[in-house]
């Protein structure tokens, strides 16, 4: 991966959109988004439910006609070259789309026939993918008997069967337990190494978005930020360090005098932001003249990025959100970001 390159050069772009929009009645689900994805990238769409992620994927996969704007996928226009787009992509939907009455291998054969995978590669490819997804032993079982994770793996295998240039994954790990999510990600990253594959995925899990080369943060039908995850997190000004000290005022003065750090005080806590705090803190502790009673360092997460960009948390549907938000707002250094 070339991490230096922020936006892909024209020759290797596999997805590009310009002002892509879709309305449902008077509701604007996607409000004219523009972005491009380079060959071999893992590109993530991060946003809460209802932000327009699935609508965007459906348009790119020719299942939904855009209301406005342009897009090409694998070099083909999504409106005028639908069959060619369909040939070039693999798709794993949010909801299962397997025929549960058929066996794993029958589902894959159907797909191979539908995409015209030549006979000489078909069986070998099915074997390879079922092995990769650790489903070969269950190939003759009805899909009905599969667990949620197995079904998802089978769908990923199916999506790859016809050697697509781009694999679309719509919430690939939704509703799966953490262990299974981890495994699915292992497969996805494995695949990217093995095949010259571009992966476009949507998620509302922050930790999953971290696995992407670049992410677009989408909220209410608009892209609010697009960059590598580290860049987005660093844009918040680095790690948040909180020191518990005897004398807050003199600690702030000393931090400014010696390191030019502007810290804020809240009770006995002094708080400042700094990139690479881990390396900085040991030195500080050795020579700091005020007594330090406690230290916490927190890396800004993509959740923080999302919150600072949109003013609300990404998981508004999760009960823990209130807590997270309160904890977040109680971090003094973050308050200025919000205002």
């Amino acid at each position: 991966m070339n991490h230096e390159q922020k936006t892909p050069s024209a020759s290797e772009i596999v997805i590009s959109t310009a002002g892509l929009a879709r309305n449902f009645g008077h509701t604007q689900a996607v409000k004219g988004i523009s972005f491009s994805v380079a060959e071999g990238e893992v590109f993530g769409f991060l946003g809460p439910n209802g932000a327009g992620k699935t609508t965007t994927i459906s348009m790119l996969c020719t299942l939904l006609a855009p209301s406005a704007g342009e897009a090409t996928v694998a070099g083909f226009d999504i409106r005028s070259k639908r069959t060619e787009v369909r040939r070039s992509i693999g798709l794993v939907f949010q909801d299962p789309t397997l025929d549960e009455y058929l066996t794993a291998i029958q589902n894959l054969r159907f797909h191979a026939y539908a995409y015209g995978v030549p006979r000489r590669v078909r069986d070998e490819r099915i074997h390879e993918l079922l092995n990769l997804m650790e489903l070969w032993d269950r190939r003759n079982s009805s899909v009905r008997e599969f667990s949620g994770g197995m079904k998802r793996r089978l769908e990923i295998a199916r999506g790859l069967l016809h050697h697509p240039r781009i694999l679309f994954l719509d919430e690939p790990t939704l509703g799966l337990d953490p262990q299974t999510r981890h495994r699915i990600w292992k497969y996805v990253l494995d695949l990217r190494r093995r095949e010259s594959l571009t992966i476009f995925l949507t998620t509302h899990y922050m930790d999953e978005a971290e696995n992407c080369d670049r992410i677009a943060i989408i909220d209410d039908g608009e892209i609010v930020a697009l960059d590598r995850p580290e860049v987005l997190k660093n844009s918040l000004g680095g790690d948040v360090v909180t020191l518990r000290v005897e004398d807050g005022k003199s600690a702030v003065a000393e931090l400014f005098a010696r390191y030019e750090l502007s810290a804020s005080i809240e009770g006995d806590r002094v708080c400042f932001k700094l990139p690479g705090a881990e390396e900085f803190l040991p030195g500080l502790m050795r020579s700091f003249s005020c007594e330090i009673l406690g230290v916490t360092v927190r890396r800004p997460s993509l959740d923080d990025v999302f919150l600072s960009l949109t003013g609300h948390s990404i998981r508004d549907d999760r009960p823990a959100t209130g807590q997270q938000l309160r904890r977040y707002l109680n971090t003094p250094g973050m308050k200025s970001q919000l205002n």
Binding site: K81, D95, D99, Y101, L102, G116, V121
Partner: protein
């Protein structure tokens, strides 16, 4: 990449060789037809309960009605008792039901999500619709042949002529009714909705199509409804195959004919029956393709 690359072929075609593009589209449609039909049959074979009910229902109808009514109802024409009369009707009825259920299969696919897998594939929509119709027709034909194999049990005489005539007629009827089923299925969102429709529309139409009684000798209102009902002509086409020999051999009874549908004094022939159903069916299939394109 170890596999194959389809891009160059697509590019050559997109460059504008129209004849080759047409050949390519045709191949795509044909692929759609056989892939979809293949899955319909695979599903049919794997679902034991469906297999059992498909085969069981007409046999139950046959046994219960023929045994139950045999003594009450005498010969409808010389040499044609009630069993002989009803047997072709039951074949026609099971062909209708099987064919219309192709529409249920679309609704089912939509509910389980499998329809998306089909719609995002490069298969074109007309191929998908015709594939569903083909699958249903093969199942309907299989059903008809099983019934045919049971004919000696009901005392219905068979001949090679009957078998050879029945096959093409069943195929035409099945495709036509599949067109009707698919037209509805392309718009329906729930299985329950489809089931209700089958019970409210398809069963009454089937019963009024003369499966159990000759439509030329019923009360006036029923005669009108029956003769407006296209299924009547389908039932008649199949019945003629079985009874035409018997009746011409023994001579036609005076009064109302038990075969042929008499409309304004004209009694239809087999060809007319099949043509009527076939033309209507073709229109329904085309309608189903358009509807499928628009609503999915």
């Amino acid at each position: 990449m170890t596999g194959f690359d389809l891009q160059p072929r697509v590019r050559v075609l997109a460059a504008g060789d129209r004849a080759r593009w047409r050949a390519f589209s045709l191949r795509q449609s044909l692929r759609g037809i056989w892939v979809i039909a293949y899955r319909e049959l695979l599903r049919f074979a794997r679902e034991r309960s469906r297999l059992a009910s498909t085969l069981g229902m007409p046999i139950i109808f046959m046994v219960v009605f023929s045994e139950g009514l045999k003594r009450q109802i005498g010969a409808l024409a010389v040499g044609v008792d009630f069993v002989k009369f009803m047997y072709p009707g039951i074949i026609a009825m099971s062909v209708f039901i099987n064919a219309i259920f192709s529409g249920l299969s679309v609704v089912w696919d939509r509910e389980i999500g499998f329809l998306k897998e089909v719609l995002v594939s490069p298969l074109n929509r007309s191929g998908v619709v015709l594939g569903k119709a083909l699958g249903a027709s093969v199942i309907a034909l299989f059903q008809a042949l099983v019934m045919l194999a049971l004919a000696p049990l009901f005392g219905v005489p068979l001949s090679l002529r009957i078998v050879l005539e029945l096959i093409p007629i069943v195929i035409v009827l099945a495709f036509s009714l599949a067109g009707f089923g698919l037209l509805i299925g392309s718009r329906m969102r729930s299985q329950q909705g489809f089931q209700v429709l089958v019970q409210m529309v398809v069963f009454p139409l089937t019963f009024l199509a003369g499966v159990f009684f000759p439509v030329n000798n019923v009360p006036r209102w029923m005669e009108i409804v029956s003769k407006l009902n296209p299924l009547t002509y389908g039932v008649d086409a199949i019945r003629r195959i079985f009874l035409v020999g018997e009746i011409s051999a023994t001579g036609q009874n005076s009064g109302h004919s038990i075969i042929g549908v008499t409309v304004f004094g004209h009694t239809t022939t087999t060809i007319e029956d099949v043509a009527l159903v076939g033309v209507l069916g073709a229109a329904l299939l085309i309608g189903a393709i358009f509807s499928f394109n628009r609503h999915t």
